[in-house]
C-alpha cells in the first residue's frame, strides 16, 4: 500500500467522481493498489464481506463491468446476486422506485447499479438504506471506470499530477469521459478532449479541460491517449457522416499517435470497435497499450470500493469498521 494518509472516504455511496476531493480519490486508489497484489496470488479469496449481500442491478446490458463487480464481491466473500433488466419485473413496467423499495426490503448491503438514464442511480440511492455504487448512469458518470483508469496511469507513471491526458471520441454522450475529466482535473492532470464538434461541446471548457477538434494538435505531447467507444448508431449520418470518415479523421493509428510523446500510453474502456475508433495494431501494441491492464485494475478498484463502503455500514463488525482509514 502507498503512503498512509489522514484522509478518509466519508460517503455512504459512490455515485460519481464530481464533488470528491483529491484526498478522497487517493484513499480509493491506495486501497485499490493493495488489492492488485492480492489478486495476483493464487489464493485470492478473503472473508471481509462474509455474510454481506451484494446485488448487481443492471438495467442496461454489460458483460465486463458486471463480471468485474461480481468477481470483486466474490473475492471478498460476499454473496453476489445478479439482476438484469431482461430477467426481472423491470421489464414489466415496475417503476425504478418500486424496484428500489422491493430490493431494499431484502436488506442487501451493497447495490451496484447501472441504468441507461442519467441520474437514475442517484434517484435509487435516495430510496434505499444500503450503500450504492454507480456502475454507469446514462451520460452522467461511471466512477469506478475513472478510478481504474487513474490506477492504471498511476502505476505506470507514478503520478497523475501534471500529466497530459487526451480523451478522444464521443465526449458528449460519454459517462466515462465525464468521470475521467472530473477525476483527472481534480488530481492535477492537464486534460484535453478531442472530438468532432458534433460529439463535444465548447462548454466542456468549464469543466477545466481544453477542447480540440483535430487529433494532430489534441495529441501533441500527450502522456496518455484515452480512446472512447463510439456507438455505431451515432455514426450513420446523425453525428458523423460515416465510419470511414470518422476513422480517417479520429481513429487512432500510428500516424496520429506520432504526435503524442514517444512513450505515451494507449487506453480504452472497452469494448473496442477495431477499425472504428482504434486501429487494430495500435490496440494490440504490447509496449503502448494498457487496455488489458485496465481490466485487471477494474477488479481491484471495485474490491476497494466494496471494502470501504461496507466498512461504513452501521452494522459493520468492529474488525471490519474503519478500514477506510
Amino acid at each position: 500500500m502507498a503512503t498512509a494518509t489522514s484522509h478518509s472516504y466519508p460517503h455512504r455511496h459512490l455515485l460519481g467522481i464530481e464533488g470528491l476531493s483529491a484526498g478522497e480519490i487517493t484513499v480509493l486508489l491506495d486501497k485499490s493498489e493493495a488489492y492488485v497484489d492480492q489478486n495476483r496470488r493464487v489464493d485470492k479469496k478473503q472473508s471481509l464481506l462474509r455474510g454481506r449481500t451484494q446485488i448487481n442491478l443492471f438495467f442496461e446490458s454489460s458483460t465486463r463491468t458486471r463480471t468485474s463487480f461480481e468477481l470483486a464481491g466474490k473475492r471478498l466473500g460476499a454473496d453476489v446476486i445478479n439482476m438484469s433488466a431482461e430477467a426481472s419485473s423491470l421489464r414489466k413496467g415496475e417503476t425504478l422506485i418500486d424496484t428500489a423499495m422491493t430490493l431494499n426490503a431484502m436488506h442487501p448491503d451493497v447495490l451496484v447499479v447501472r441504468h441507461p438514464h442519467s441520474g437514475a442511480v442517484n434517484l435509487l440511492a435516495q430510496k434505499v438504506d444500503c450503500a450504492v455504487i454507480n456502475a454507469g448512469d446514462g451520460g452522467h458518470e461511471h466512477p469506478t471506470q475513472a478510478l481504474l483508469d487513474a490506477l492504471t496511469i498511476r502505476r505506470r507513471r507514478g503520478r497523475l499530477d501534471g500529466l497530459i491526458v487526451a480523451i478522444c471520441g464521443d465526449i458528449l454522450h460519454s459517462r466515462v469521459a465525464r468521470s475521467n475529466i472530473q477525476l483527472l482535473v481534480t488530481m492535477g492532470a492537464r486534460v484535453r478532449v478531442v472530438a468532432p464538434p458534433t460529439l463535444v461541446s465548447p462548454l466542456f471548457h468549464r469543466m477545466g479541460v481544453d477542447v480540440y477538434h483535430d487529433m494532430g494538435s489534441g495529441l501533441g505531447g500527450a502522456d496518455i491517449v484515452m480512446m472512447l467507444r463510439l456507438q455505431t448508431e451515432r455514426m450513420q449520418g446523425a453525428y458523423v457522416p460515416s465510419v470511414r470518415e470518422y476513422f480517417h479523421f479520429y481513429g487512432l493509428d500510428y500516424q496520429k499517435l506520432a504526435a503524442a510523446k514517444p512513450d505515451a500510453l494507449i487506453m480504452h474502456p472497452g469494448p473496442m470497435n477495431r477499425g472504428v475508433e482504434i486501429d487494430t495494431d495500435v490496440a494490440d501494441d504490447i509496449d503502448r497499450s494498457v487496455i488489458r491492464e485496465q481490466v485487471e485494475m477494474g477488479v481491484a478498484v471495485r474490491m476497494a470500493c466494496l471494502d470501504i463502503l461496507t466498512g461504513h455500514l452501521s452494522n459493520a463488525s468492529p474488525t471490519d469498521a474503519g478500514t477506510a482509514e
Partner: protein, 441 residues
C-alpha cells in the same frame, strides 16, 4: 370551503375598509365596493363612509387589497381524460385558493377539444363542478396533430376563447400561415408553444454547462427564438393576432420587443416558475422542476423580469400542469414536464413587488387587465356593471409554500418550503365568496 358561484343569489355585499387596486383604470386608493347579485354595483373612496346600511352584508377588508379576481390563461384542468391528474372541481378549487377567478384551460385533453361539442362539454361540466369561471382554448389543429385546422369559427361560437395546440408547437410553416390568416378574418387569437421540436429533440432541460455536467440532453435557447422569429414573419404576412404562450429566454424577449416596436399584433406570456426559478432548480435531477419550456439561466430570468416591467411580456400565467407522483418520480429524462402552479402564481408574482423588481400595479395588471384585454373578456376590472369577480389580497404576511398545503389533486411543485409574502385571503366569483383563507390553529 369553496362552493359554486352559479347557484343562488348572493344578494348585496359591501366590501369596506379596502385598498382598491384596479390596473384597468389605474386606481390605487382606499375605499369600498358594493356588489349586487353577480355584478359590481358601486365603487369609490367615499362609499359607505357613513356606514353600511341595513340589509347589506359586510366584508371588512381590514385595509387589505381589493382587486379584480385574477385571470390565468394557461392551465391544464384534466377533463376529459386525465381526471386522475386533475378535475374541473379540484383544479378550480386550487384556482380559488390562488385568487384566480377565471381559468382558461388547454385543449390537450383526451379527447382533444377540437370540436364544438367538446367546447360545450367543458362549459357544461364547468357549470356543474367548477368553483371559478372556466373557458377553454380550442385546439388549433385536429387532434393537436399539427396537420389540419380545426373549425375555429364554430369552436369560437361555442365558447373557445383562443386557439392553440397546447404544449405542442405547430411545426408546419404553411399551416401556421393559413391558420393565422384564417383566424384574422374572424378576429381570433392564435396561441403558440414556441419550441422547434426537432431542435429540442430528446432535450429535457436547458442546454448549458449544468446539462453537460448532469449528462442530460439540453434544449438550446435557439429552439425557442427560431419558432418565434418564424411566426412573427408569418404574422407580418397575414396580420393574424399571435400570442407566444410562455417565453423563457432573453433572445425571445429581444425578438418580441422588436416586433412590438414594429407594431405587430403580438403578445407574450410568462409562467410564474420562469421568473421565480432558474435552471439550478433541476440540479440533483429534481424532476419537480422539469418544465416545458425548460427553466433557463439566470440571465434569461433577469431578462424576463425586465420584459415584464417594460411591457414586452404581457401576461403572467400559472402554466398549471398537474402530474401524478408516478409521472414525476422517474429518471429525469423519463419524468413528465410541468408544475402545479395555480396556487403558487400569486405569491410568486408578489415576490417581484416585494423585491422591487416590478410595481405592484404592474404585477396585478399582468394577471387581470392584460389577459382580459387579450382575450376580450368582460372580467378583470373594478367598475359598476362589471362581473363581481374579486380577490382580497393580504400583501405582507410571510408564510411558506408547501406541497401538503396544496388543494390541487396533483401536488407537483418545486416550491415546497419556499418562503413567500402575501396571499389571497378571499376569492369572490360573481358575487359569491368561493374561498376564504383561515389560518391554521
Amino acid at each position: 370551503m369553496a362552493r359554486s358561484f352559479s347557484k343562488g343569489d348572493p344578494g348585496r355585499v359591501a366590501y369596506v375598509n379596502a385598498r382598491l387596486i384596479d390596473p384597468w383604470h389605474g386606481r390605487d386608493e382606499p375605499g369600498a365596493l358594493l356588489t349586487e347579485g353577480n355584478r359590481i354595483a358601486q365603487i369609490g373612496p367615499g362609499l359607505f363612509s357613513d356606514g353600511v346600511p341595513d340589509g347589506i352584508g359586510t366584508v371588512d377588508c381590514g385595509g387589505r387589497i381589493l382587486a379584480p379576481g385574477l385571470i390565468d390563461i394557461r392551465a391544464f384542468l384534466g377533463e376529459p381524460g386525465y381526471e386522475h391528474k386533475e378535475t374541473l372541481a379540484t383544479g378550480t378549487e386550487a384556482a380559488a385558493v390562488g385568487g384566480v377567478t377565471t381559468v382558461i384551460c388547454l385543449p390537450g385533453t383526451d379527447p382533444v377539444i377540437d370540436d364544438a361539442a367538446l367546447v360545450e362539454y367543458i362549459e357544461r361540466r364547468a357549470r356543474e363542478d367548477a368553483v371559478v369561471r372556466v373557458h377553454p382554448m380550442g385546439a388549433l389543429t385536429k387532434g393537436i396533430e399539427g396537420r389540419e385546422m380545426t373549425e375555429m369559427g364554430l369552436l369560437a361560437e361555442a365558447g373557445a376563447v383562443a386557439f392553440t395546440d397546447g404544449d405542442r408547437a405547430v411545426a408546419d410553416a404553411q399551416l401556421m400561415r393559413r391558420a393565422l390568416a384564417y383566424a384574422s378574418g374572424l378576429g381570433l387569437l392564435i396561441v403558440q408553444h414556441v419550441e422547434e421540436a426537432a431542435l429540442a429533440g430528446t432535450g429535457c432541460m436547458n442546454e448549458g454547462e449544468l446539462a453537460l455536467r448532469l449528462g442530460l440532453p439540453g434544449i438550446p435557447a435557439a429552439a425557442e427564438v427560431i419558432v418565434l422569429e418564424r411566426d412573427l414573419r408569418l404574422v407580418e404576412l397575414t396580420g393574424g393576432r399571435y400570442h407566444a404562450a410562455c417565453v423563457s429566454t432573453a433572445e425571445s424577449v429581444a425578438c418580441l420587443a422588436n416586433a412590438k416596436t414594429r407594431g405587430l399584433p403580438v403578445s407574450a406570456g410568462v409562467a410564474s416558475h420562469h421568473f421565480a426559478l432558474n435552471e439550478i432548480a433541476v440540479g440533483e435531477y429534481r424532476t419537480f422542476a422539469k418544465t416545458s419550456p425548460p427553466l433557463r439561466g439566470e440571465e434569461d430570468r433577469q431578462a424576463l423580469i425586465g420584459a415584464m416591467r417594460d411591457g414586452t411580456i404581457d401576461v403572467i400565467v400559472s402554466d398549471h400542469c398537474p402530474q401524478d407522483q408516478e409521472s414525476k418520480r422517474q429518471p429525469f429524462i423519463q419524468a413528465a414536464n410541468g408544475i402545479a402552479g395555480l396556487e403558487t402564481m400569486l405569491p410568486l408574482a408578489l415576490e417581484l413587488h416585494h423585491n422591487g423588481s416590478l410595481p405592484l400595479m404592474r404585477v396585478l395588471e399582468m394577471m387581470t387587465a392584460s389577459p382580459a384585454r387579450l382575450l376580450e373578456l368582460d372580467v378583470g376590472r373594478l367598475e359598476a356593471g362589471a362581473p363581481a369577480d374579486l380577490v382580497v389580497i393580504d400583501l405582507d404576511t410571510p408564510w411558506r409554500l408547501s406541497e401538503e398545503g396544496l388543494v390541487a389533486k396533483s401536488k407537483n411543485t418545486p416550491f415546497d418550503g419556499r418562503p413567500v409574502q402575501g396571499r389571497a385571503v378571499r376569492t369572490v366569483v360573481a358575487g359569491h365568496t368561493v374561498y376564504e383563507f383561515s389560518p391554521r390553529v
